[in-house]
Symmetry: C2
Subunit: 195 residues, 2 copies
C-alpha cells in the first residue's frame, strides 16, 4: 500500500531525519570525518535530498550546532533552577554546564569543530542566544548590575572562556587535577565586589 502524505509532512520528516543522523555522526566522528554519502545512506535517502533541504554541508552542520546549543542551554537552566542564592545559581549552572559537556562528542562539536567550521562570530552569536544568556544574567544578578552592561557582557565572555577551557582540559585529561574547584574559586573572587 502506498503512503499518502502531504508535502509539508514529508519535508519536515526528512529534514529531521537528516538532522538526527547528522547530529549523531558529527558527535561521534567530527565534521570532516563524516561524509555526506554515508550520512544520507544512514537515513535511506540520497545526497539529492540533503542538498534540497540544506545549502551545503556547512549549513547542515550549523543547524546541528544550533540545536545542540539549545539543548545544552536547557540542561543548564534545569540544573540551576531552584537555587538558593544567586551565587548558588551561578555555581550550579556552571556544574550543569560541565555535566552537559560530558555527553560524548559535545566538546569537539561545540568547542573545536564549531569555531573552526562556522567561525568565532557565528559561535558567539549562537552562544549569546543560548547558554551565554544564562551566564550573563546570573553574573549580572550576583554583581547587582544590568544584564546589558557591556562590562558584564565582557566578563561573562571571559568566564565562559574559562569554563570551556576547563571542559576541554578534562576532556583530554592530560592536565593537572580538577579544574572545577579552581573555576569556582576564581568565580567567587571575581564577583566578590561590584567593580
Amino acid at each position: 500500500m502506498k503512503e499518502r502524505r502531504s508535502n509539508a509532512d514529508r519535508s519536515n520528516a526528512t529534514r529531521h531525519a537528516l538532522l538526527d543522523a547528522a547530529r549523531e555522526l558529527f558527535l561521534s566522528e567530527g565534521f570532516t570525518a563524516v561524509g555526506t554519502p554515508v550520512l544520507v545512506k544512514r537515513v535511506g535517502l540520497t545526497r539529492g535530498a540533503l542538498y534540497h533541504h540544506f545549502a551545503d554541508k556547512q549549513a547542515l552542520f550549523l543547524a546541528v550546532v544550533e540545536e545542540e546549543a539549545a539543548r545544552i542551554a536547557v540542561e543548564i537552566e534545569d540544573g540551576s533552577a531552584g537555587a538558593g542564592s544567586s551565587l548558588d545559581a551561578l555555581i550550579q549552572g556552571a556544574n550543569a554546564y560541565f555535566r552537559a559537556m560530558e555527553i560524548p562528542g559535545r566538546v569537539r562539536l561545540m568547542l573545536l569543530d564549531g569555531p573552526a567550521v562556522l567561525g568565532p562570530d557565528e559561535m558567539r552569536r549562537i552562544d549569546r542566544e543560548t547558554g551565554g544568556r544564562e551566564l550573563r544574567h546570573g553574573l549580572a544578578e550576583v554583581m547587582r548590575r544590568d544584564g546589558d552592561d557591556p562590562e558584564v557582557e565582557m566578563l561573562a565572555d571571559l568566564v565562559s572562556a574559562m569554563f570551556d577551557r576547563a571542559v576541554l582540559a578534562r576532556d583530554v585529561s592530560t592536565g593537572p587535577g580538577d579544574y572545577r574547584e579552581m573555576v569556582a574559586a576564581v568565580l567567587k573572587k571575581l564577583v566578590r565586589e561590584g567593580k
Copy 2:
C-alpha cells in the same frame, strides 16, 4: 652549469621552503582551504617532495603551528623583558601576546584550525613548551608560588583561556568594547592574594 649540493643541504632547503609556503598559505587561507597542489606549486616542487618530507598534510600543519608558537613565545619574552615589578612583567607579557596575535591569520591558525586539526591535547603540549611557560612562571612569581604547583598551572591555563577569548573577540570585533582592560582588571583581582 649544474648545481652540486649535498643531500643534507637539499633536504634542509626544500623542507624550509615547504614550511615557509605552508605558513604563508595556512595563515592567509586556513588549513582546509589550502590544498597541497597549489602549496607545492608555489615552491616549484611537486607533491612527491612534500610527502617525502612530511607524513601527511597534518604533519606539515603541525610543524607550522609549532614554529608559529615559538615565534609568538619569543615576541612575548621580548615584550615582557625589562619590566619593573613581576606584576608589570605579567601585564606587559599579556599586551605582547595581544600584539603578537594581531598578525593576520594567527588567530585562526593558533586558536581555530590548530585545536580542530591537531586536537586540544597537542595544542596544550605546544603551549606548555612555548608561550604558556612564560605565563606560568610570571604567575608563579607574582603569587610567590612554585611554578610547578598544579594550582598555578591550572590558573595559568584558565587565564590563558581568557587571553585567547579576548583575542578572538577583538579579531571579529563583534562584541563590546576593549577586552584588554577587562582582562587586566580580572588578572589583578586573581593574583591579589596567595590563595
